[in-house]
Amino acid sequence: MTTTTLADLDHARSIALDLSGWGRRFNFYQPRNCAFWGYLVLVGIGILVYVARLARKYDAYGEAIGLAVTSFAFYAALFWWFTQYIDHYAKLPAKLMVVAFLWGGFAATGAMAANANDAILAIYAKVFGQVWALNWGAGLAAPFTEEPAKGSGLLLLIALAPRHIRTAFDGLILGAFIGLGFQIVEDISYALTSAGSQFGANQIGASIGTIAVRMVSGVAAHALYSAIFCAGLVYLLGRPAEPRKVGRGLLLVAIPMLLHGIWDSLASIAGPSTLALLGLLIAVIVVALAIGVRVYTLTVKREQDFVRDVMAPEAARDVITEAELVAVSGNRKARKTYRKSGRDRRERKRARYVLNAVYGLADDLAAARGADTDRVRFARAEIARIRAGGAPPPR
C-alpha cells in the first residue's frame, strides 16, 4: 500500500499550481510581446469602425441604439454571472476575460469577419445567383469567417497569457467571452438594421422584436460556438496541462462551424412553414446546448483535478473535511450532496457558506502559490468560524 505523506501532497499542490496557472496575475501591457501590438491594432481598428458607424447613425436611430446597448449590456452582465457560476475551479483573471470579450466584439467583427462576409456573399451571388446566395450564402459564409476570426483571438491570448491558458477548459471559458463580445456587437448591429427597416419610423417597435429574438436565440449562438471552437483549438495546439489531441480538437472545431452553418440556413431548410422553422430552431438550440454541456463535462475534469490537488493538503491538515474536499473538487451533484447532508435548513445553509469559504481559501492559496501567508491563514480561520457558526468579524 502506498503511503502519501504531507510532503507528497504539498508537492502535488505545487505542481498543480504551476501547471494550471491558477492565481497568477495577468499583465496586459507587454510591449515586448508581438501579440500585444497585434491585439491593439486589430481591436483598435474594430473599435474605430464600430464607433464611427454608431456615431454616424446616432442622430437617426438614437432611440434604438440606446435600447439595444442597454438591453445587451444587461444580457452581457447576466452571461458574465453565468460563466462565473459554472467556473468554480482554477479561475482565470477577470482582466483576461475582458481582453477576450473586446477581441470578439471589435477585432473579430469590424476588423475581420464583417469584411469577409460581405465579400463572400457577393461572390456567391455572382457565381451562383442571387436566389442561391439568399438561400445558402449566410450559412456557407459565416462559419468559415466568423468562427476562425473569433478563434484566432485565442492564439493571441495564449501568446499574451501563456501561463494562464493551460487547459481546454480555459479555452472554453475564454472562447465563451470572445463569442459573447461578438454576439453583443452583432446584436446591436442587427437592432440598428431593424430600426431602419421602417424608414426610421417606429424604430423602437421595429427593433425590439429583433432584440428579443437575438436574446432568446443567443443562449446557443456565438458564445457557445466559440466556447466549443476554442476548447477544440486548445486540444489541437496542446498546452502544458492539456496534451495535444488532434482528432478531438478537429472535431470540436468542426462542430460549432456545422452548427453555425445550420443556424444561418434555418429559414431555407425549414421552407415557408413557420411551424417547421420554430421546431427546427428549438431542435438546433437543444442539440447545441447538449453538445455544450458535453464539452463542459469533458474539459472541466482537469480543472477539478487541480482543485483536488491544491486542497488535498488542507484536508490532510484537517482545515477542511474529506467531504468538503470531495464537494469542492467535484461537480454540481457533489456539491449538492454535501449541502443536503445537513440535518436541518440551518445546517444546509451553513454548508453552502462553508463551501464558498473553501473556494475562497483555494483562490487565496493559488494567489500565494501555496505559501502560508496571512491571507491564507485568515481564509482558513474563516472556514473554522463559519463551520462553528461564529459571528462574522466587525466591519
Binding site: 504531507l6 451571388a125 484566432s152 495564449i158 421602417q198 421552407g271
Partner: protein, 223 residues
C-alpha cells in the same frame, strides 16, 4: 492517508521565483521582442489580411452578369414588384416567381447600368406617400448631415401605371442627380431612388421614371 511520521512538515515551502509576464529570456529575443510571440501574431494578421483585403479584392475581380431580359419582373417583400428596364444589370434582389426557399423575398433590390443606379426598398409604414417621403428625408438627413445625396425641392405627385398615387422629389449630391419616389400600399411603404451623373441626359431620366411607374403590389387592384 498521510504518513503520521512526516505529518509535521510545514505547509510553508519556499515559493519559486517567477518573473513577470513582460520578461523575455535573453535567448528568446529578436530585435527586443519575444520571438515566440511572432508566429502566432503573424498567423492572426495573415487571417485578417485574407478577410479584409484579399476577399474584397477577389470579389471586385469577379465579373457579374445578370442582365434584365424582356418580361423580367423584380419582386420584393410584401408582394411589391417593379419592371426593370431591359439591359440593366440586377445587382441585388430576385425575379418574381423565384422566391428564396424561406418564401420571403428580400426587402431591397437594385439594378444598374453604368453609373446609373435604381434601388427600391420596402418596409412597413403607417401614413401616406408624402409622410413617407418626409420620413425618408428626416432619416437620411440625420445620417448624412447634409453631405452626400440629399432631397431638394418640393414634393410633386407621381402616378404609377397601376394608378397608385405617390410622392416624388429631386435628389442631388456631388456630381450626382436623380429622383426619389415614395408610395404606400396599405401599410407597406415603398421607396425608389434613381441616381446617376448630373449630366447623364434625358434617356436615363426617362428610364428611371418608367421603372418608378412600374412599381405595384401584387393583388393591390383587388384590395
Amino acid at each position: 492517508m498521510p504518513d503520521p511520521e512526516t505529518d509535521n512538515s510545514s505547509a510553508t515551502s519556499a515559493v519559486r521565483f517567477e518573473p513577470d509576464e513582460g520578461w523575455v529570456p535573453a535567448d528568446m529575443r529578436f530585435l527586443g521582442v519575444d520571438r515566440r510571440t511572432i508566429a502566432p501574431t503573424l498567423a492572426v494578421f495573415a487571417l485578417a489580411v485574407v478577410m479584409s483585403v484579399a476577399l474584397p479584392v477577389i470579389n471586385a475581380k469577379v465579373p457579374y452578369h445578370d442582365v434584365v431580359k424582356v418580361g423580367d419582373v423584380i419582386e420584393l417583400q410584401g408582394g411589391v414588384t417593379f419592371v426593370p428596364d431591359v439591359g440593366w444589370g440586377i445587382t441585388s434582389g430576385v425575379r418574381a416567381g423565384q422566391a428564396p426557399l424561406s418564401g420571403e423575398y428580400p426587402a431591397t433590390a437594385s439594378v444598374e447600368q453604368g453609373a446609373l443606379e435604381f434601388r427600391v426598398h420596402t418596409g412597413q409604414f403607417d401614413g401616406d406617400a408624402n409622410q413617407l417621403l418626409d420620413q425618408i428625408e428626416t432619416t437620411s438627413g440625420a445620417i448624412n448631415h447634409g453631405r452626400g445625396v440629399h432631397m431638394t425641392g418640393a414634393h410633386t405627385t407621381i402616378v404609377t401605371d397601376q394608378g397608385k398615387q405617390g410622392a416624388t422629389a429631386r435628389v442631388t449630391g456631388p456630381h450626382t442627380g436623380g429622383v426619389i419616389a415614395a408610395f404606400v400600399f396599405e401599410g407597406r411603404g415603398v421607396e425608389a431612388v434613381a441616381t446617376g451623373p448630373s449630366d447623364a441626359g434625358a434617356e436615363p431620366a426617362a428610364a428611371a421614371l418608367r421603372m418608378i411607374r412600374s412599381i405595384s403590389r401584387l393583388g393591390d387592384g383587388k384590395r
